[in-house]
Amino acid sequence: MPDFLLELRSEEIPARMQAGARADLEKLFRKEMATAAVSLGDVTVWSTPRRLALIARGLPDATAAVSEELKGPRVGAPPQALEGFLRKTGLSESQLTARDEVLYAVTEKSGRATIDVLAEAIPAIIRAFPWPKSQRWGTASLSSESLRWVRPLSGIVALFDRAVVPCQVSGIAAGRETLGHRFHSTGPIQIDGADDYAAKLRAAHVIVDHAERQDFIREHALAAAHAEGLVIVADEGLVVENAGLTEWPVPLLGRFDAAFLDVPPEVIQITARTNQKYFICRERTPEGAEQGALANAFICTANIVATDGGAAIIDGNRKVLAARLADARFFWEQDRKKSLSEHAEGLSRITFHEKLGTVADKVERVAKLARWLVEQGIVVPANAGTAGRIDASSASGGQRSPVEPGTTELADVAQLAEWAERAARLCKADLVTEMVGEFPELQGVIGGYYARAEGLPDAVADAIRDHYKPVGQGDDVPSAPVTVAVSLADKLDTLVSFFAIDEQPTGSKDPYALRRAAISIKNLVERNSLRINLFVASREALTNVGISLVVAAARSNPRIDEILSKTWPNFPAYHGGIGEIAVTQLRGEDLTLWKSDVLPAIAPGWNLLAPGRLSELSESLRSFIFERMRVQAKADGLRGGIFESVTTPPTVIDVYLITQRINALQAFIGTADGTNLLAGYKRAANILKKEGVVPAQAGTGGRIDATSASGGQRSPVEPGTTNELSYTPEPAEKALMDALDTAGPQAATAVVTEDFAGAMAALATLRAPIDAFFDGVTVNDPETAKRTARLSLLARFRDAVHGVADFSKIEG
């Protein structure tokens, strides 16, 4: 069967658009062929900067004949209906076929020659091509209806078997002539068909298969590095981009002045990569590719085999890189003439958000919050150890109390608090440096370098460098305590600030990336096993925002500042309890001014600090973070309902505890015991629901004694204990009672001590007894006493399970 070749030649297609264009070409071609019922074998698409190519194998010579039938009016329908149908079909009445009293128009469509189908399809594909950006050109562009393409389209090769497919688009007729390499080939090349296309182009210095060019670049760049005793810094994006910029790639290694290696390697890398599309190299070390120092070498990918072997090309590229590195070194030297704290002063000139003040205001809040996170024991020094802290055998549980004086950790904690606050104050300073102005993507990284260069402790410099992390799911999550404190404080502040000004994400709109911030918070907490009450932390962060807004309002008006300072002696250090402010201290004129001038001016911050508003917002923040956790858990493949089962009602607001419960429950539900216990639970819960026995209020809090099965609400059945039975229980009934007597308290204790695996193990012991109970005991016994007692027993069972998690939420 014949093959089909299509080549669409144009002026240089942007490298970044080529992959999409290949996919679109194949999609449009398949669609056209499917519509015309042309069967296809393999379809291959290729691209170079100057052409898109498609080869389809095994097409039929012609499509099969088809008979199409169109239903018309009933026989004997009014004449108007018949006339309308005849007009529509273009037939006469005698040509219609009657069947079951209905008229049909039957048209026999003979098969079409595939080449004719292709002749129509090619212009249709070209006209429908969805380039991200397209243009008009040339004389035809006198009309705005003229053909659009990514850059001027200059030629079409369309060959079905060995025949030219006769078609044309906008004055460009399809043929068999194409062009080779722009500089290494002259004159047109005649293509016979799909089979000689790639070979003839190769002879004209064009490797048409993009994947082959990519392989070539990868291998030869590597070889060039190895020849110099270097390793290449792998960069697949650059491989693809360079393959999209060349038809005949020639990687060439050059050297730049080693003096530029004083500049941070990230700067060299970004200059070489983004601006010049060069690969960079490291020195080879026994430890591996990532370990070696950056080498003063670059690899550019030329598009020609140069007459001088590439010497002029390497020299030219070296000069361009040197000029760029000279700029970078100039910034590097200029910036370091000022300390980071001097740079930080410039942040007061950058607006963070018009309703949230400057970046300097934000930095102030983050610094306070970072210190608070340490002082509250949420972020602890590294040597305090994380594993021991959450030792399940320790019954203390819950929120860690603030560090008490006299403990051995004190010095470390004080140090950590100081460093966290210091790093936070400097973490945004690099935003106003020349270097970050030139390379915005290096924010943080540059600050880290400047911090180290001015002799700040490594922990502080690292925190400045890494505090933006994690940026979304999958990014590295910091674990160094100073970094964790600053990163968490920064993200919490961002999140609560925008909630405070009612800028929550809605639908698909999340302009401030708050969903990502929430997930980053969750990841920081999980990775570092932080014990944080989200409600309390949100409240603290919100209070900072409120105070910050009041301060900003006061700063803008000296008179307001003066009056505020009378009513608020500790202002701006004052913290909390705003609702009780002694407005009564004001007398006469002051009080009038307070009402007329001060209050309206400070309203945004003042209103935020009202206790009711603080609580309301803290709760919506908690629920927002929970919702993000739920969505993320679902995306990560967590079984449906498990997240809800440990957060309903939301009495547990410790993210770490929730994660622990989820992990233990997910593992348990996966076991045979778990599956069967869940089935037993559902059966029990259904019976109880039918009988109107409502669950105890313990929920998933697990804080109340799970052995007490008394529901919080009145139920028609008063659950009792074995001692009160007025009859002799069945063996299976007795066995369940005994099992509950043991497992109930065990599970409850395990929950309190945060030993969730232990809680699951306790529940697992109930599996056999509950199965046996349902097998051997009739709940709905005619004797009321038995029925009531058995329902209470089931209620005890249900409530014991609820003490660990609300199994009713688990799907399946």
């Binding site: 970044r16 040339g138 009309s143």
Partner: protein
């Protein structure tokens, strides 16, 4: 054209380009006698890119970018430099080949140097204009901009013009193999670019950054705006467009003086754009009937 034995001087390079484009049918125009940021601002490009009439022109345009001044200290940043500008309407289908031939004419051998067309879409917010094209790389250095104009002053270009902009100093530094603009051979008799222009860079950098009276600049901007409107009212769009050029340069100077905040910046650009668009609109309105008569297939 064979490769010259010795690298071309700055002025010889310009003469070669003039000869090349003249031979390809371009009018060789002289620089526009106003201060402007780029050759595109020359009415021979902006206004002539509108309407259906064919147009081919080439010229050198002194270009002023006050914020790029470095007091002559930076080897390749200047507040005043030269662009070689070619505009061909409609763009011929072999424009890339013509461009490459012009590089050969000034001594760049495409089998020794790596010439590449790298995506770079052009947009001028102050002119309300955009186009698709490339920056042309020679051994990794951007030596030209190559653009197919799609819109000018907010109007579709019908037909599309091809615009070539050569950065003359960069190209000359490349051809002559020098690392500092001062060392460029201006002519073949030993006069350097630095001898001609270093004082200019030093003094004008000082003027742009330190001396220019910001009150007069703001005042001048407002006056140019008003004058532009008066010209539009008098139906002299070319004169109106000159005021847009003036306002644009005054805005650039105000930026160099650091007196325009980030928020204000967008608003000033919008004001200049309004002047440029208004002038383009008036230009079209004035000649539309004639264009339609001469080119019946053309519609606005």
């Amino acid at each position: 054209m064979s490769q010259p034995s010795a690298p071309l001087s700055f002025q010889d390079m310009i003469l070669r380009l003039h000869a090349f484009w003249s031979a390809h049918g371009c009018l060789i125009l002289q620089p526009y006698d106003m201060r402007m940021g780029a050759g595109t601002f020359h009415p021979a490009t902006t206004l002539r890119a509108l309407g259906p009439e064919p147009w081919k022109a080439a010229y050198v345009q002194p270009s002023r970018r006050p914020t790029d001044g470095r007091y002559g200290e930076n080897p390749n940043r200047l507040q005043h430099y030269y662009q070689y500008q070619v505009i061909l309407k409609p763009n011929p289908s072999n424009l890339q080949e013509l461009y490459l031939a012009s590089l050969a004419a000034i001594g760049i051998d495409p089998l020794a140097h790596d010439i590449r067309f790298v995506e770079d879409d052009w947009e001028s917010p102050t002119l309300g204009a955009w186009g698709l094209g490339w920056e042309v790389w020679c051994d990794g250095m951007e030596v030209s901009q190559f653009t197919y104009f799609q819109q000018m002053g907010g109007f579709d270009c019908k037909p599309v013009s091809g615009e070539l902009t050569y950065g003359l100093e960069r190209l000359a530094m490349y051809i002559q193999g020098v690392d500092n603009f001062r060392d460029l051979a201006f002519n073949a008799d030993g006069v350097s670019y630095g001898e001609v222009f270093l004082k200019n860079e030093q003094e004008m950098s000082k003027y742009n950054f330190e001396v220019a009276d910001t009150a007069s600049l703001f005042d001048g901007f407002a006056k140019a705006e008003a004058e532009c409107q008066r010209c539009l009212d008098a139906d002299i769009p070319l004169a109106a467009y000159e005021q847009a050029i003036e306002a644009s340069h005054l805005f650039n100077l105000l930026q160099a003086r650091g007196v325009i905040s980030v928020q204000e910046r967008a608003s000033y650009i919008g004001r200049v754009r309004d002047l440029a668009k208004g002038s383009c609109q008036a230009w079209i309105a004035k000649y539309e009937a004639q264009w339609q008569a001469d080119y019946p297939e053309w519609v606005l």
